[in-house]
Symmetry: C2
Subunit: 424 residues, 2 copies
């Protein structure tokens, strides 16, 4: 659908169709809110094309957000009956009226946050680009940021690099990315309860892991890039702090960049890959295996090391079933990333291992950062990356869902005798 | 100790000391049976130096093998009282006499296998190198292969590439590597019981995972390198089959290579990294996280996907404690590899991400394959890689041991209430 619209000649500035594969790639990238682009969004597409793209992003973003929230609530129903919040009715009677009401709530919250973001951005964009273009850019970037899409209209694949040391842009976009990446249930709970101790375990875990990732990312980028003349090196101290902070925000899973990604040090790039693989939080537009999934496994390992049998976080025990589900999601995701990387290293022979590995984790995490190889992908490469974006988008959630269903019906079978093996 | 001997001027052909860092690096590489070398073993060292190296390998290999076997038996004691085999006494009364008897058994088996290997190799090496050098080379390579050390005396960092299509060398070295990498308890059980169905779960799992890795590796390398003119492309069909087979054997964790590692396709290199990270089997000289550890996690994930609550393999249930231990070993190993790779990408700025990542997994798996950067490592790089070899050597085992101890004493604490989180 979006692919057809984008392949129309009036979507491209040149007046010629961009070709079906490229149109499909862009549409997939927009609906999956990934942000990898084969042609530059600002210079290639007409206003019509750009409008189609931002609508696809908004629809994709909202769709995934509400779907993910519904699933979260269905899961939640069996779980924490005391966590009802605003959606009390939606939870109690999971009927059409409840869904409509919930959807309305999601729409209002989304548009409110995006609206505030757009207004703040316009203070910067209107003086630069004039009133009409400035407003357009503000709305486009607010939506793109909150939906963690990472599409930009700055031009020439530069993303937000011209604004690396701009306080307003950095803060507003970061805020939109972070809130968008937390997931709807978390936003609601934070807005309603306001006290960390009252939050559900899910919200606590999301905030804690997100905080850790931001802190570790900020410190690491600041140190690793401090003297890199291509990135932070040329900026003032204020710019350095903003740049390091923004680069710790963007892998979760926005895909904007204020620093030129391909000029970062290898260490930063590798860390970014790990962050992109983790991605954002469940119930949001973010991709990757999700902060909670990674958090559950990290806390499980820490508890194992401490010699505890159970995974205990914030004085709560995480059920074995959830740990298993996390392990399966991460395991399958790793296998997927490894296989896709191997396929691409055959089809994209001209590119280095790092470029390919980065592109694949970026697509899987629906991040959209790239070391620059996206425009020169082969046709097979484009198809494979499209599929990876899609898998990264719906895959982990589907796996988690399927597992949640399956585990219900496998009770009471014969247990085999235990036997130990030597590991490690 | 070994470092001091190797730093003596008489160890180097030039008559000048190789320098303390290089001597320590080589000694660590030998004792940890890794096989990464900063100077070429054949051309740099005198016969004295080479003798020191092969003794370090044999001592390191035997030491780790017996230590690992003792630990396996201690673990085993609590476990499978019916798995007594030859070491019945050693098991029942874990006293000095038992240890001596067991050590003797290990020594006899090791020397027998190495002896047979050396005799077979001498059929090839004596005609090429003459009697005395030929015998020396046969013994050196038999020990180096069985201990999975990967040191060679062919010269100029070529490893076994001149023998890529030699049937005898390929088969004998592969056999030594595989048996050496299975671990002593497995060798004994196979020799004694001879029937797969009678084996313990540990032995079944080791043989099964090793078989899968060999098969997958062989097929993948054969396909990926078939047309690569630098590797399999120039060989006959026989050479192609031998070359592909050998490259699927060597990451477990021998470190010999018959194909030039740096000329392999990116896909093969990436797969090799995954294999090196997995490594060989517990209770052997091999490094890495171990085949059983990977196997336990893989089967756990498969069982989770199937909706089973327990990890069932070969009609046995794997205890939760073992699964936890495997998860901790793999998790810690990944964190280690990621951090070391980041450190080296700062200190070794001239090398590509792939070279560095490969070197680190190789060191961690104590494999010893390299894309060629070992000789040009900086001093910090050499120290870090030495530590990584050491961690890869003793780390996973120590972690597993420490966890086994800890889990005993943490029973009967208060259980926190369960609370679910949304993952995936
Ligand atoms: K994105
Ligand atoms: K080795």
């Amino acid at each position: 659908m979006g692919g057809i619209l984008l392949s129309l000649p009036i979507a491209s500035k040149s007046g010629h169709s961009v070709g079906f594969i490229n149109a499909i790639f862009t549409a997939t990238s927009a609906v999956c809110v990934t942000g990898l682009v084969v042609v530059d969004t600002a210079t290639h597409w007409t206003v019509f094309g750009q409008t189609v793209i931002i609508l696809l992003i908004q629809i994709g973003g909202l769709g995934f957000m509400s779907m993910a929230t519904f699933f979260a609530l269905i899961f939640g129903k069996r779980i924490t009956l005391r966590e009802r919040l605003v959606m009390q009715e939606a939870l109690n009677q999971f009927n059409i009226a409840g869904i409509v009401r919930l959807t309305k709530y999601i729409l209002i919250t989304t548009f409110t946050i995006e609206g505030i973001g757009a207004v703040l951005l316009s203070f910067k964009f209107i003086p630069i680009y004039g009133v009409s273009k400035g407003i357009g850019l503000s709305i486009f970037h607010a939506i793109s940021a909150f939906c963690n899409a990472g599409f930009d209209l700055i031009g020439n694949f530069r993303s937000l690099t011209p604004f690396a040391d701009d306080f307003l842009i950095n803060m507003v976009i970061s805020f939109l990315i972070i809130t968008g990446g937390l997931g709807f249930t978390v936003i609601v709970e934070v807005l309603q309860k306001r006290k960390f101790s009252k939050f559900s375990l899910h919200t606590k875990l999301v905030l804690y892991i997100t905080g850790i990732l931001l802190l570790v990312g900020f410190i690491a980028v600041f140190i690793l890039e401090y003297n890199n003349p291509e990135t932070l090196g040329k900026l003032t101290l204020k710019g350095k702090i903003l740049g390091a902070f923004f680069h710790s925000v963007t892998p979760r899973t926005a895909g904007f960049n204020t620093l030129p990604t391909d000029k970062l040090t290898t260490a930063t790039i590798f860390m970014t890959m790990v962050f992109m693989f983790i991605g954002g939080s469940s119930g949001s537009t973010a991709g990757g295996v999700k902060t909670t999934t990674a958090g559950v496994i990290i806390f499980t390992i820490i508890n194992i090391i401490k010699g505890k049998e159970d995974t205990e976080v914030f004085n709560r025990r995480i059920p074995r079933e959830i740990i298993n589900r996390s392990l399966a999601v991460i395991g399958i995701a790793m296998v997927l990333v490894i296989i896709v990387t191997m396929i691409l290293s055959i089809t994209e022979a001209g590119h280095s291992f790092m470029e390919i590995f980065f592109e694949v984790t970026s697509a899987f995490g629906t991040v959209g950062l790239s070391l620059g190889m996206t425009p020169s992908l082969s046709i097979i490469g484009k198809i494979v990356i499209s599929l990876t974006m899609f898998a990264g988008r719906v895959g982990p959630m589907t796996i988690a869902l399927a597992l949640a269903k399956k585990q219900q019906k496998n009770k009471g079978l014969i247990k085999y005798p235990e036997e130990r093996v030597i590991v490690g």
